[in-house]
């Protein structure tokens, strides 16, 4: 056919010309990637180098670390953090497993109610649990005697309070793990006349093994790095996260704060790495041909599960209910008549109503800008052609924030953005930096949600639109966004709720003009205004619940409108 008969090795490789789309997509993706780099890696790097410096900024090697490990008080905080995290992990994992099992594998009545109650802690700042516990078991607590002379201010309070707010995080993972089973495995086991107990240990447990491991790591990391609960109810019992706060805010010892941050970061990074590996395995278990499992009624099991879930639900409602009660009561415990005095935030230290409105603005900005950047970034990464190295690098940067505890991120931001030589210094103390840190803090989960939704879309859409000479942004706007709208709403609600309730990252970064509601809860509690703190926490809870309901309604109306094309 041709007289070219060179061997492949002698020929010049074809260098693919890039289309305008390719250029635009790559440049935009690199730009978002650089922003992320700026928002996570550079601050972390600054913090890391800070931990090797003395107060004058001179390099001192591991001197700070040596000092840290030889200061018993600091060292024991690490032990305390580990102990509490392990205990809370075991408690929450056990409860979440049984609760999830009841929801997915039994015919227990009122499942919808139990599902609803379980997500309540997601709508409240982690501090709320601590405040409620004070009213239940504190010095003037209603059920103080139940503790048999022990104090709630310390490990007991931290464990219970932490368990309360991480419960839904663990529950959702376990529910997913238990939902993806194949009913045919159970039918096969039945046909082989396997005993119920043996089925549980040979089919059920192995099937959700990875989910449980993953949930365990999530609980551990959340408790280990949480700041709100130990701050409110920890008393004199020191934890790593509170240590950072004390070192930085209390003693202005930034170097030691950086050291503690690194110590806090390490277990979080390990847990994160193991979790990533485990989750990859979990996905491999999924088969698209699996038949969903439908439980059959069994009176004994269903009733005992109902009782168990009722106890858990009662506990959650008791936490929320007490916070609400305390917020409405005039003067605990002497005048229990109701009034709205505690909601008069403007007469209290902590930021007043302005803090609440700041939080709303911050959450709205975070949701809007965060969703746009995160979803578009995920799209460019997932649907771009070629440039494999760049896309992989982007993904790596995008999942990094999950490994970084909020306290560490916040402190890293101080070091990075407050540096006089940083041209971005002007951001320090503004609303913008709060929005940025919150977007970065919650980037990973949103990114993964977007990637999952995008992966479900036919990859050939991009091929077809290229053959039809449609620019990528046109297909993105006309097809990708409408089809992924549910996921986009999920991302924005996730960002909003977290922006409303987060304390850890923003605690170092707010200024007097940008106090946030969650920070106000903390500060009012710190100042002894526990009841107003409860009231502010409840304001956050109302807002989150309202937004959540609006989200459900919106999603429902959209799915109604798009029913025609979403198929049967």
């Amino acid at each position: 056919m041709t007289d070219v008969s060179l061997s492949p090795g002698q020929r010049i490789p074809v260098k693919a010309k890039l289309s305008r789309d390719d250029w635009q997509m790559r440049v935009t993706m690199v730009a978002i990637g650089l922003l992320l780099l700026l928002g996570i890696l550079l601050p972390l790097y600054t913090m890391l180098s800070k931990s090797f410096e003395n107060t004058d900024g001179e390099f001192v090697g591991l001197a700070n670390y040596a000092e840290y490990f030889s200061t018993p008080a600091l060292f024991f905080s690490g032990i305390n953090s580990l102990t509490i995290s392990v205990i809370a992990t075991m408690i929450v994992l056990g409860i979440a497993f049984v609760y999830a099992y009841a929801l997915t594998r039994t015919c227990m009545p009122f499942k919808w109610f139990f599902r609803l109650v379980a997500i309540i802690p997601l709508l409240t700042p982690s501090l709320l649990g601590g405040i409620s516990l004070i009213y239940w078991f504190g010095n003037q607590g209603v059920l103080k005697d139940l503790l048999l002379g022990n104090t709630i201010y310390g490990p007991i309070g931290i464990t219970i309070g932490s368990s309360y707010w991480v419960f839904p995080h663990a529950l959702m993972i376990v529910i997913t793990a238990l939902s993806i089973t194949d009913a045919r495995l159970y039918e096969a086991a039945d046909a082989l006349r396997t005993s119920k107990l043996k089925v549980f240990f040979t089919v059920t447990l192995p099937g959700c093994k990875y989910g449980l491991i993953s949930a365990g790591f999530v609980i551990f990391t959340l408790v280990f790095t949480d700041f709100g609960v130990p701050k409110v109810i920890g008393g004199n019992y020191n934890m790593l996260a509170t240590d950072i706060y004390k070192q930085v805010i209390g003693q202005q010892n930034f170097q030691m704060g950086a050291v503690v941050s690194v110590v806090l970061l390490l277990p979080a990074v390990i847990a994160f790495t193991v979790d990533r590996i485990v989750q990859k395995k979990q996905v491999a278990l999924l088969s698209s041909r699996a038949v969903p499992y439908t439980p059959k009624p069994s009176a004994g099991r269903d009733i005992s599960m109902f009782l168990f879930c009722s106890v858990v639900a009662l506990f959650i409602l008791a936490m929320l209910g007490m916070a609400q009660y305390a917020a409405l009561v005039k003067f605990w415990p002497y005048n229990l008549s109701f009034a709205l005095d505690n909601y008069n935030f403007d007469v209290m230290d902590g930021g007043g109503w302005e803090a609440f409105w700041n939080s709303i603005y911050m959450a709205v900005y975070t949701a809007i800008f965060g969703t746009i950047i995160i979803f578009f970034g995920a799209y460019l990464m997932e649907k771009g052609r070629g440039f494999k190295a760049g896309r992989t690098a982007f993904h790596m940067i995008a999942i990094t924030p999950l490994a970084v505890p909020g306290m560490v991120l916040g402190l890293a931001y101080i070091f990075f953005f407050n540096h006089p030589d940083n041209p971005l210094n002007f951001l320090y103390g503004t609303m913008a930096i709060l929005v940025i840190v919150t977007i970065v803090h919650f980037y990973t989960v949103s990114h993964l949600t977007a990637v999952t939704a995008l992966k479900q879309m036919d990859n050939e859409f991009e091929s077809v639109s290229a053959s039809l000479k449609a620019p990528f942004y046109k297909t993105f706007m006309r097809v990708t966004v409408p089809v992924c709208l549910p996921a986009i709403f999920d991302i924005s609600i996730y960002l909003f709720l977290n922006a409303m309730t987060t304390v850890s990252a923003v605690i170092f970064l707010y200024s007097s003009d940008t106090t946030l509601a969650s920070v106000a809860v903390l500060n009012m509690d710190d100042a002894g205004d526990t009841a107003p703190a409860a009231a502010m926490a409840m304001m956050i809870a109302y807002t989150c619940a309202g937004v959540r309901i609006a989200h459900v309604l919106l999603t429902r109306s959209i799915s109604k409108k798009t029913q025609a094309w979403r198929g049967r």
Partner: protein, 367 residues
């Protein structure tokens, strides 16, 4: 389609590597104007890779592609002139059928009435003119694939690429759509390349079939050529059913299988060559042979098993027919229902069968 016409698409020495794996090695092929070419082969043979290289979706590592006298080797998809249809249809789910077909036309900034006329014309052509307001999910698979075809043809591309377009459909719809696509292609006269792993599809639709195996082209030819005169053992085995027996060329015009000598053309082989002797089941003849006269290539066969396949029986014949220990499967022969009835063929019976000398094919055996 004559060989002196200028090829519309020229593929020259194409190589595609994925890391260390060579998916295409040195592929050259010419496709002529208005031709319907099928890339046929087992999964992993490189046929889809070749199609994607032609489309610019996965550009080749080495080699040249010339379309309509223009070197498109390195161009991105958006700079090439083709329409494409995928197995998954890839219809935009949130756009109506009308909007889907109009999608490419809108990008050309054509006036609205013109777009409308063109979309209606295309939907009319595939018999879906009254379905324009529906969404893809509301149509059957076959209808969706017709829409995808209309969308690909809307901008009148010079080249139509079909990537396993029928594989996701039910058997019945597939057969129906097969002739419909072929008919449409003939009417529009668009040069078409279709990738398929289904030989029946390739045999019925293609003007020429390109049989691929492990990244190379084994044979290019019309369906008849490919079926009747396969040039490699792979092609012979992959297309249709074929009996293979180990043999040896003993003299010009004669091979030895087991203990039996068979006459056949031995062109291209020398005495003593080890060969694979091949014959199709439908070429095994039991029709006009009387049971007592022994003619050329006639052997006495014991029927072992019979499989009823509707219009014919697939008969398994004891391999001892070649009176020798053969390391191969049984011999298969297709006998019509009529013949089986007339000759009262039953398992256990013995009858004479013949291997027509010009229907036996020999393939070299790799040493």
């Amino acid at each position: 389609m004559t060989s002196d016409a200028k090829p519309f698409l020229q593929i020259q020495n194409l190589v595609k590597k994925f890391g260390d794996f060579t998916a295409l090695s040195d592929i050259s092929l010419d496709v002529y104007e208005s031709e319907f070419v099928c890339f046929l082969g087992p999964s992993g043979c490189g046929k889809t890779t070749l199609l994607r290289a032609i489309a610019g979706l996965d550009i080749q590592t080495y080699g040249t592609i010339i379309q309509d006298d223009k070197d498109i080797s390195a161009l991105p998809s958006s700079k090439r002139d083709f329409g494409i249809v995928f197995q998954s249809y890839a219809l935009f789910p949130n756009l109506t059928i009308y909007k889907n077909v109009a999608y490419g036309l809108e990008n050309r900034k054509l006036p609205k009435p013109e777009i409308k006329a063109r979309v209606n014309e295309l939907l009319e052509l595939v018999g879906l003119h009254d379905q324009g307001d529906k969404y893809p999910a509301q149509l059957s698979g076959g209808q969706q694939q017709r829409v995808a075809l209309s969308r690909a043809m809307a901008t009148s591309p010079g080249l139509l690429l079909l990537d396993e377009p029928l594989s996701a459909l039910d058997a019945r719809v597939r057969v129906h759509l097969r002739s419909e696509i072929k008919d449409l292609q003939r009417r529009l006269g668009v040069t078409t390349i279709m990738v398929t792993h289904d030989q029946e599809e390739a045999l019925t639709m293609a003007d020429r079939i390109v049989v691929m195996n492990q990244g190379v082209i084994d044979q290019v030819g019309t369906p008849e050529e490919i079926y009747r005169t396969p040039t490699t053992e792979f092609v012979a085995d992959f297309i249709g059913t074929m009996n293979f027996f180990p043999g040896e060329v003993v003299k010009n015009g004669q091979v030895k299988v087991g203990g039996t000598l068979l006459s056949c053309s031995t062109d291209g082989f020398q005495n003593g060559d080890q060969v694979s002797v091949a014959i199709r089941p439908e070429d095994v003849n039991a029709q006009d042979i009387s049971d007592d006269t022994a003619t050329e290539n006639t052997l006495s066969a014991t029927i072992e098993n019979m499989e009823f396949l509707g219009s014919f029986y697939r008969v398994t014949i004891d391999k001892n027919i070649f009176s020798g220990d053969l390391d191969s499967d049984h011999l298969l022969a297709d006998f019509s229902v009529n013949l089986v009835r007339r000759k009262d063929i039953k398992p256990g019976n013995v009858l004479n069968i013949a291997f027509p000398k010009d229907l036996i094919r020999l393939f070299p055996v790799a040493p």
